[in-house]
Amino acid sequence: MASVGVAQFHQVFFEESLEGLDAMESSLLALDEGGDSELVNTIFRAAHSIKGGSATFGFPEMAAFTHEAESLLDELRDGRRAIDGAIVELLLRTVDCLRGMFARAQSGQPLNNAEAESLREQMAAALGRQIEPKAPPSRRAGDHADAWRIDFRPHPGMLAGGNDPLRLFRELAALGELRVQPVLDRLPPLAALQPAECHLGWVLELRGQVPPDQISRDQIAAVFDWVEDECELTIAPLHVVADTPVPAVAAVPAGKPPAAAAVHSAESGSVRVSIDKIDGLIDLVGELVITQSMLDQFREEFDVAKLALLQQGLTQLARHTRELQESVMGVRMLPIGSVFNRFPRLVRDLTQKLGKQVKLELVGEQTELDKTVLEKIGDPLVHLVRNAIDHGLEMPDRRRAAGKSDTGALRLEAFHRGGNIVVEVSDDGAGLNREAIVAKALQRGLIASGDQLSDEQVAELIFQPGFSTAAVATDLSGRGVGMDVVRRNVSDLGGAVAIRSRPGHGTVFTITLPLTLAIIDGLTAAVGSEHYIVPLVSIIESVQARPEAVHRVTGGGELFRFRDEYLPVLRLHQLFGCAGAQAVIEEGLLIVVEGDGARAALLVDGLIGQQQAVVKSLEANYRRVGGISGATILADGSVALIVDVAGLIRLQSRSKAA
């Protein structure tokens, strides 16, 4: 495999193979539900490409493994074997096993393991044979002679097929001394000639260069390998030499040299970007350059008469900068389909295990998300989907009793709303069991026995840390497995989770995510001489507090009455130690915020405006600060801190508890 150049295609091969495995998986699942034969072709193609690529790029174990799967698929493809659940299951496990092999290949570990061996044996058994130990290419050595006579009569169509006797004769001439005698007995009249048709024939004599130098029949036959069906060919020795056994041809190593080692073990953390996006960027930069050169003329000489032109230029500059920013962000955006794709399999496995019937619907797979968000949203979604199947959707008999169809509906949908991406997991199951949740919350001391809770508040309970563990969740017909973890994961991504449930009709989990982690939309608020940015996604409202709405409670806390709720007031100037800030609540402004399902009112001096902030990590540049998620640089060059609302509320409630 020598060449360093080829190693650069390993990563590409890994990526496309993993995509191929995804396609195999989803097609297998569709096949399981009675899909058409084109699905088999898709699956076959993917397996076939992986086999060819793995052999080419130096992963023979993977090639041998995929070969078995391909043989099975081949039988499915031409109908020699019926498609049934067992074979789909076997192939699905093959897909999983190959994913494992790719992971090991990427980190430079040995590809085969016990599981792979066992699967390979199962496939071989299904094919009705034992694994063939790779038979050495035992080519019949063939007889040898020091001279041969070759009668060669091409069929008329041979030339059009691209096989030119010139090439064949050149190859023969490389073996020894070649004499060529044309046979012109079948030539048509010139006027009747179809130039592409061959009417010539030849008698050739081939001799070893030096008398003891012998030529084997196979050497000659190999020259004609592509045309054996397109000609009449006889190869006969001119002077027969004894049929001597040929010294072991098998000594020629049949296999390839050991797989080229240097596979990059570290994941490259790269993004595949479509050419369209890159072209778009290049266009924008081009426009920017034009605008810049237009503005450049004002540097030389400025004339008030040109003011309009300058303004126009600046407007253009602003527009192009914004577009460029959006496009550059777009480079990090990938369709959520890659995350959704894992669910058909998950749902199938889970429903089979539980004996439920569920139809999964995926909507909005093309919706794009920031790569980082995409990588981290998978686990929370798996959690929600598992929960929906485990606890939300009922067994067929219970559904029937409730007047619903046997098959439950589970829907994963992604879409844009405002500046956010919304991902919803909805089911038409039993909905939250209010009594069970309230009972559990009482038992856990999360609520007091006299508390009157709205449906919304009951739903919120399941997100409380310690509300439930896997052990109690199975007793509950409600939900609850690690919902606090889901909420925390989502909130780490700058997003929020909400729940809506109707008893008997189902449950909807709504995850709201920012488009990107690199930029946030926020309100800039002044606190003393400092500026803070409050993410727009956390803001419910900002209000001027009237004196009667603020209540002081024992212990020094302050509560602000907002609609029917009492919210703790968080004085940013106190929390962050800002001098010269407005300390009188009624004189300042309260921003009502929500994070992790809890609400609070932030006291600031006033609002400066709304802006997009490019998030700079505080952790990377300084250290982690509680209640702050990052920093940004404002237009005037000063630094503003970005408020981590959920963190701030947590901080506050902890200090209160202490």
Binding site: M1, A2, S3, G5, V6, Q8, F9, H10, V12, F13, E16, T42, F44, R45, H48, S49, K51, G52, G53, A55, T56, F57, A63, L159, A160, G161, G162, N163, D164, L166, R167, R170, E171, A196, D225, W226, D229, E230, K256
Partner: protein, 120 residues
């Protein structure tokens, strides 16, 4: 050197083939399925076509059949890149008008040797 059309839906295989051939000084045009290859072939003439068998949209065998029906591709060498060591695919390709085949896996040296063999 020669103008070569490389057709394969696998980015890595196509990349490897194109990279190797360009390294040997050939001018390589890439296409990711048979249909796109035909589009490329109509607008240009190639000295050699290398094509995968299994491809979406239009597979290699249908592509060869179409190419051979075009006057300017009579006699132009077309090689199938095939993993099938069993003969049916090779023969199907041949029947459609392919010149010969190159069995995967092949390494860059084998590729260059075969290309040299056809181009002389």
């Amino acid at each position: 050197m020669a103008r070569i059309l490389a057709v394969d839906d696998s980015v890595s295989m196509r990349g490897m083939v194109a990279f190797t051939l360009r390294g040997a000084g050939h001018e390589v045009t890439e296409a990711e399925d048979g249909q796109l290859a035909l589009d490329a072939a109509r607008g240009s003439t190639f000295d050699l076509v290398l094509a995968d068998v299994n491809m979406p949209v239009m597979d290699g065998i249908a592509m060869v059949r179409e190419l051979r029906a075009m006057a300017q591709y009579q006699g132009v060498p077309i090689l199938m890149l095939t993993t099938e060591s069993h003969t049916d695919k090779k023969m199907e390709g041949k029947a459609a008008g392919a010149t010969g085949w190159l069995v995967k896996p092949f390494d860059p040296d084998q590729l260059l040797a075969t290309v040299k063999r056809v181009l002389g």
